[in-house]
Symmetry: C2
Subunit: 263 residues, 2 copies
């Protein structure tokens, strides 16, 4: 199984926000699922669907995309379960769309219900996952509503970086960025043309580089400062060390960690 076991991704994510017992981890190993592969801008789920499974994202990025406006309202990274709320409210209000190539594990909803009954702590952790998502949404509103487009893009970059690092990815401040500038624009509620200019400005200021489908953050501290980024809202257990950690040095943009997915 080339992507490893799906439950380890979920375990990493849950561990980033809550403490799991041995018993909880064992329960996670009982997960059954089927794997799905998607190309960029494929819809994994569509508005109005009432799926009987939940999507555990294993590789790549997913987003909720409003079909009417094209607005992206959340972005998900490996270990996230974007539609966990369908356990309680099955109908989808937006498209669940792939940003770049994606690998998903479709897990029966019944599985989450059953492990929630068996472990109160696991049930709590899963709810924290939903609460953390809601906190992200609130922050997204603040971002779009109150920041200018430069810090808006910077803030989104910071958020994704910290979230990736919380599940063991992007340790070297390089993140796969298979999304287009238009995707970024849809997430930040700016026009694609303007997104391009913002990225150029971020490059000009030597805060990051974006090439070969990889973003390399070259000045993490300045990026955080520009974005006025405070990771508290993410609800991570060990968030401060990440920010305080060794400053990312000027990384030469060689050997990009491209996200490659067979399809």
């Amino acid at each position: 199984m080339q992507h490893g076991f799906a439950f380890t991704k979920l375990a990493d994510r849950l561990t980033s926000i809550a403490e799991l017992s041995e018993h909880d981890l064992e329960l996670l190993t009982t997960m059954s699922y089927t794997i799905g592969y998607f190309n960029s801008h494929d819809h994994v789920l569509r508005k109005g669907d009432k799926p009987s499974t939940c999507c555990l994202l294993l590789q790549g990025y997913l987003c909720w995309k409003d079909p009417g406006s094209g607005q992206i309202t959340s972005i998900f990274i490996p270990g996230d379960v974007p539609d966990l709320h369908t356990v309680v409210a099955p109908e989808l209000g937006s498209h669940l769309t792939a940003l770049g190539p994606v690998v998903v594990a479709f897990v029966p909803r019944a599985y989450f219900e059953s492990i929630s009954l068996e472990s109160a702590n696991l049930a709590r952790s899963l709810r924290r996952l939903e609460v953390a998502e809601a906190a992200c949404l609130r922050n997204w509103i603040i971002n779009i509503g109150s920041r200018d487009s430069l810090s808006r893009v910077a803030h989104l970059t910071c958020e994704i970086t910290v979230r990736l690092r919380a599940v063991g990815m992007a340790q070297d401040y390089r993140l796969p960025s298979p999304f287009t500038q238009s995707d970024l624009a849809a997430a930040c509620a700016i026009s694609p043309v303007h997104a391009n200019r913002i990225i150029q400005e971020l490059r000009r200021r030597r805060l990051l580089q974006w090439q070969s489908r990889t973003i390399t953050i070259t000045d993490w501290q300045s990026l955080v400062h520009l974005a006025r980024f405070d990771p508290d809202y993410l609800g991570l257990r060990h968030t401060n060390p990440l920010l305080r950690s060794e400053q990312a040095p000027s990384i030469s943009p060689s050997e990009p960690t491209v996200l490659s997915v067979p399809c």
Copy 2:
């Protein structure tokens, strides 16, 4: 008890999104609480607080307000429990602020935990309440991110109207509006000056009136059309009849239903 029993407000709200059994309703009557009164712009809870109770809003409006930016990320109406998520993640990320005079019932968190254990259906309904709030957040992002300020304000007005009507208020398309134009601006992510001009435009188009702390919607259909408002995302059980219902006629703005609260 001049405001009636707090649990009836919650019962109304839960009934608007889920079906409750007799047993569920009986459980709701066992609620214990203390009443709190607040003036406009008071903080009911502050960022960083870890309260041991949840706020059930009985009268007036509450909002989550980000202290850094002043951005409002949600608005709550009677029957809502804005901090229900603290059952699982206690720390608050924003101020919970009164918009106009407010009456709140502080309900022990343990109460919600206990009734959730006693009735799976009630537990589910409470979770739907949280999910509905998240759906509102997503829609708020779409609103701020993709609509111009005129339809943005119109959309917010539509949302609040439909939510009020779902719990039996504003049946005549008049809603108490104790908030200032600056509050509205903070919710719609526009400047206070611009908010004023938008309101004038809405008045000029004869879609609504705003006087004596009351908004009177005089042309509901046109307002819905301007806002491209679709109430599906609210997760209400009987939402379409509300929209299809008898069109609100031109209401003469006499005898405003002012929200008066002793303090």
